[in-house]
Amino acid sequence: MHSNLDQITDKELLHRYYEEGQTDLLGVLLQRYTLLLFGVGMKYLKDEEEAKDAVQQVFLKVLTELPRYRVEYFKSWLYTIAKNYCLMKLRDKGFLKQDLNEKMLWATDDDDSKSWHYDKEKMLTIMTEAVEELADEQKRCIILFYLQKKSYQEIVSNTGFTLMKVKSYIQNGKRNLKIILQRSIEHER
C-alpha cells in the first residue's frame, strides 16, 4: 500500500498524513520513535512497566491530537509530550519537589534551532578565539570531542573526569561557544 515509507523523512510522512488522512502513516511515523520514547520513560520513571505505559499513553495522545493540529516539528513535539507525561507522573507521585514550570515543560529536542549563515573563514577565526575563552575543563573536552573525534569513554580515560562530568563539559562548552560566537558576530556588525 505504501511503498518505500522507510526512505521518506518525518516531515514528508506527516505531510502525506495531513493530505491523505491515513492513520497507517502515523503508525509508521510513531514506530520510528518507539525505542526513544521507551528510553525517555525509563530515564524519568525508572520502571519498565511504567515506561511501557508512558509509551502507550503518548501513542494515544498523538493519535488523538495530531489530526486536530498542524504539527511542524514532529520530533520536538513528540519529545515534549513524552517528557511532560513523565514529569506529570513524577509530580503526581510527589517525587518532583519543585513545581513544573514552563521551561521544564517545554522540552526542545534540538538545543539550537538557529542557523548560522556567515563566511566560513571568518567563522573559523571567531570560533578559534571563542574556544580560548572557555573554562579549561570545557576547552579540553570540546577539543577532544569535536576536533579529535574522541568518544565519551576515550575522553574519560584521557582526562580522568567522570562520564557525567565529560558530558556536562561538552554540553556546557558547546552552549558557551555559541553564546560567545553570537556576541562576536553582533559586535562585528
Binding site: 514506530q31 525505542l35 521507551f38 528510553g39 511501557k52 494515544l60 577565526t125 558530558k167
Partner: protein
C-alpha cells in the same frame, strides 16, 4: 585552522534503532560511538533515551519490549479491522456454510416427503 570546528554548528540527524542498540551493548568502535554521542549532544530526546535505556540491565529484553509496544500501536490503529475479521466470515467459510445449509434443506425436504408418502 581546522574545519572540524564548524561541526559544532552543524545539526545532527536521526539515529537508527540498530545503531542505538549497538551503542548500548558496546558493540561500536570509538569512532562510531563518537557519532552517536554527537547526536546525543545535539538532541535532548536521544540523550534522555540513551540515559534511560542504559539503566536496563538486560539489554536483550529491549527488543521484546519494542515488539510488544509496536504491536499495541498497530492494534490501536486498526481496532475495527480486527473486530470485523472476527464477525465477517471469509468467502470460503461462507461457501461451506451455504452448501451445508442447502444439503440440510434437501435432506429435511426428503424426510418430509417420505413421511408424507409412507402415511
Amino acid at each position: 585552522m581546522n574545519d572540524k570546528w564548524l561541526d559544532i554548528l552543524q545539526k545532527s540527524g536521526h539515529i537508527s534503532e540498530q545503531k542505538l542498540m549497538d551503542y548500548l551493548q558496546g558493540k561500536l568502535s570509538p569512532e562510531e560511538s563518537h557519532d552517536v554521542e554527537k547526536l546525543m549532544i545535539d538532541s535532548g530526546f536521544i540523550n534522555d533515551a540513551v540515559e534511560g535505556l542504559s539503566e536496563m540491565k538486560d539489554k536483550q529484553k529491549i527488543a521484546t519490549i519494542l515488539q510488544d509496544l509496536n504491536g499495541q500501536l498497530t492494534k490501536k490503529i486498526h481496532p475495527k479491522s480486527r473486530k470485523n475479521s472476527l464477525i465477517i466470515p471469509d468467502q470460503l467459510t461462507l461457501a461451506v456454510a451455504t452448501t451445508v445449509t442447502v444439503l440440510l434443506l434437501i435432506i429435511i425436504a426428503y424426510v418430509i416427503y417420505r413421511m408424507y408418502h409412507s402415511s
